[in-house]
Symmetry: C2
Subunit: 249 residues, 2 copies
């Protein structure tokens, strides 16, 4: 039986999602909890994709196969009892046998939170990226228009990637002021490595006046990572939602 789970985690205490020997990772913690439930039999999980060190999730999805006959509610409860307090199972669904958390994903939504004020905030230091320089929303919004739709995003992809096809589609790039934060919401069918963080880092450089909004289209056309802005740090990024046709969380 194939089981799909939606999970939230605070990435602060982890070396990212993916298992790495000797490091504390989200995947390893979940697999440990599942293996305990299966009386020591190792259970491998597959997620919608990795998240980096310090990156958070409010709606990461993973799947695994099991012979255990447990209701959806019981899976959620039993796993939560075994997981550390910074990882939280939000929902469990019995999935079709050909469901795959990564390959069945239709859409992903990321949110990037910037603390947009002069003073830092001790209570949000791990959950937002603090930009003390004033950010001009209208300029960032103007610049973001160039990124909407289907493009070769080579300029917005970490240089050290093995992916060949760098054409992706951004369906939504929304920038909103929420109290003293600015939230970037980015939706698309798939993302390259560090793509959201490089987009946000570049838009921030537009917002502070370091770059013109029109430069973003030029950066895109160059297909060269060195043309774009800095990669915004991981701790402002949230994998917010992964959408599927087969199951609805």
């Amino acid at each position: 039986m194939r089981i799909a789970c939606k999970v939230a985690y605070e990435g602060t205490g982890y070396s990212g999602y993916q298992v790495q020997p000797g490091k504390r990772t989200i995947q390893a913690e979940i697999e440990l909890a599942l293996s305990k439930m299966h009386k020591g039999t190792f259970i491998r999980i597959a997620s919608s994709g990795r998240t980096d060190s310090f990156v958070h999730a409010k709606g990461q999805v993973f799947h695994f196969d099991t012979n255990m006959q447990i209701s959806e509610e019981r899976w959620t409860k039993a796993l939560n009892a075994l997981l550390p307090e910074d990882i939280q199972l939000l929902a469990t669904k019995i999935a079709p046998s050909d469901f795959h958390a990564r390959y069945s994903a239709k859409k992903k939504q990321y949110i990037y939170r910037v603390l947009a004020r002069k003073e830092r905030d001790v209570f949000r230091r791990n959950q937002t990226y603090h930009v003390p320089t004033p950010l001009q929303l209208d300029l960032m919004r103007e610049a973001s228009q160039s990124l909407l739709g289907t493009h070769d995003f080579s300029s917005f992809c970490a240089a050290n990637t093995s992916v060949v096809d760098k054409v992706r589609t951004i369906e939504t790039l929304d920038i909103q002021k929420v109290d003293d934060e600015i939230h970037f919401t980015v939706e698309g069918s798939g993302f390259l490595y560090n793509m959201v963080r490089i987009i946000v880092g570049t838009l921030i450089e537009v917002g502070t006046g370091k770059r013109k909004p029109s430069e973003v289209r030029e950066i895109l056309e160059e297909r060269d990572r060195t043309e774009a802005g800095k990669t915004a740090p991981g701790h402002g990024l949230y994998l917010n939602k992964v959408s599927y046709e087969e199951i609805y969380f």
Copy 2:
């Protein structure tokens, strides 16, 4: 010259406010930063009062004496540059020479945050106390009326205290629902050890129906710690504001 500072901190990573050998404490971090500014001369600070392990502050106040001639704004900036990221100086004031952060304090305000929903929240696990049982606001408000005013709060004071006079005055005890949280705001001229946390712990027992609202008056009259409810955990508590006549933050 006497200097007063308002400081915020997230208490999660600390063994409380007060210096303890071999432990990471708020006071030790601030004194270390100040001593660095004074070229190695040790500077002792005095605060409005201790806070326990995991307890946070949004408006703790301390004072110290110095020969350095620096503007208020420069003190804030220089100290923040030397403090760890979970301690943040909010403001500095040049104070009268007889000002004392503890003895000059006229009023203290604490806020206690309860996460009042079934599911936990990974992002607020260190910043709220999670109570999954439904809480009845009206019952807690009714019970809180008995605590207003001047009383002997022996029943709401940790048993292991050396303080003799346990008469204190609570001026405000406000209970508000804020989204999925319940915030207890408690104001008074002074508080006994663990007093706010025992009050909140007892009111929560009223809110879940474990105790009747009328019991709170009886508990108060007993003057016996064992009559009151459990001490609510430190990580939901915030020292929000300390008020003085001499200076205004």
